[in-house]
Symmetry: C2
Subunit: 243 residues, 2 copies
């Protein structure tokens, strides 16, 4: 079975100009890793309908699931619904269930601005987790989440388990050797253990180690085999610790 892969599309001028700092992609990175989902791409783009359509279309075609963050609301800069609709060549329509929920929430005073919160890409699926009052919108493999961090987190938390797949098995080794001096060995290690993703991260600021090598796969035995091979490569005495 191929890996579940994911992309995150963060929508918002405020992130690109530094008015707000992203909290949603960084939250989702940790969640997806814990769920065993392979995050392949994070894209941050402006509140621009065409750009949203283009980016979501590309990501939805290439990865198993796409999560969008932001651009949901009643103002001119909230164009995610139209952008995602455009990505899938769909119209924006008013969803009767959402309209009913809005009418019962706002009562008789409801106006067109508030009703617009019921507008969705045609054919959207509403996901109703027990923990979430307002449903989550999905179009094909794309989940539309709000940009407000508290809402983003609670909505994702309410549906997270549906994304769980086989977990990653990861180890890390810290060594005092110079990265230049172990580079050839690491290249051979990577060639010999192709199912294991091997990362090499030199450290120039701390004095307790020079390189951190990470080993990651979904087969614990494969990761452990690569770890044994790595430990056999390192110079005696250079090993700081294994995690």
């Amino acid at each position: 079975m191929p890996d579940t892969t994911a992309a995150i599309v963060v929508i918002g001028n405020e992130i690109l100009t530094g008015k707000s700092q992203d909290q949603n992609a960084s939250f989702l990175i940790a969640e997806l890793y814990e769920l065993g989902v392979k995050l392949e791409r994070i894209v941050v783009i402006p509140d621009d309908r065409e750009e949203i359509s283009r980016t979501v279309r590309d990501c939805a075609a290439r990865f198993s699931v796409v999560f969008t963050s932001g651009g949901i609301g009643p103002t001119h800069d909230d164009v995610t619904i139209e952008g995602v609709a455009g990505a899938f060549g769909r119209r924006v329509v008013r969803h009767p269930d959402l309209e009913n929920m809005l009418r019962s929430h706002f009562g008789d005073g409801i106006d067109e601005v508030r009703l617009r919160m019921a507008d969705v890409p045609e054919g959207s699926v509403l996901i109703h987790p027990a923990e979430s009052r307002w449903p989550i919108l999905a179009v094909e493999n794309t989940y539309i989440l709000p940009g407000v961090p508290e809402l983003f987190r609670s909505k994702f938390a309410a549906m997270r388990e549906r994304f769980r797949v086989k977990p990653f098995h990861t180890r890390a080794v810290y060594t005092l050797q110079d990265e230049f001096d172990i580079a050839e060995d690491l290249n051979r290690l990577a060639a010999d253990h192709q199912t294991v993703i091997i990362g090499s991260y030199p450290n120039f600021t701390r004095s307790d180690y020079r390189v951190k090598v990470t080993l990651e796969s979904k087969e614990p035995e494969a990761t452990e085999r690569a770890l044994s091979a790595l430990l056999a490569i390192l110079e005696p005495g250079s090993l700081v610790r294994t995690e």
Copy 2:
């Protein structure tokens, strides 16, 4: 003159799996804003040559400048040089000036692994800021920066002034009104002041305001005109403060 636009391409499995947190894009967001450069896109991708080529090619064609972060080094997972070369249809060649610098740095003990640090996309330009010992590599409009945050920052700092253009002029207004109740007015404001980028950010956690509205352009008069129009729209007594 059209705006200077920019994209940041962050390269590294370690960011996508949460082993490291990005520091370089968040640093560059603030730098580019201060320089007046319009950041249009941030992309985080794995250490994959094809993916780097594809992403850099797309960004370099669409934006004035592209900055890459990470994937520079001697190990198998350092594929940014090859990726950027591929983006521009160029070969990877050994740069004689870099080779000389490496030979004088490492002396007679230099080996092929270390010499590989002189390999660059053919036709690369070396930028030698006075403050930086090692030159910065540029290919067409793409600047290749290291992933180690301290090096990324010092290299960018050494060349930052070459990117400075007309500054942004930004104001912000905090109001107690509900975003639903000002949405139509904001939509009209945005339509009336098309050179001003107007953002509307509801706040659900703090009690001192309900919506922050931001106004941004490169023409101070345009921003201030939009600010006056916005202040005239808001209900008397709802204004919390203006920044």
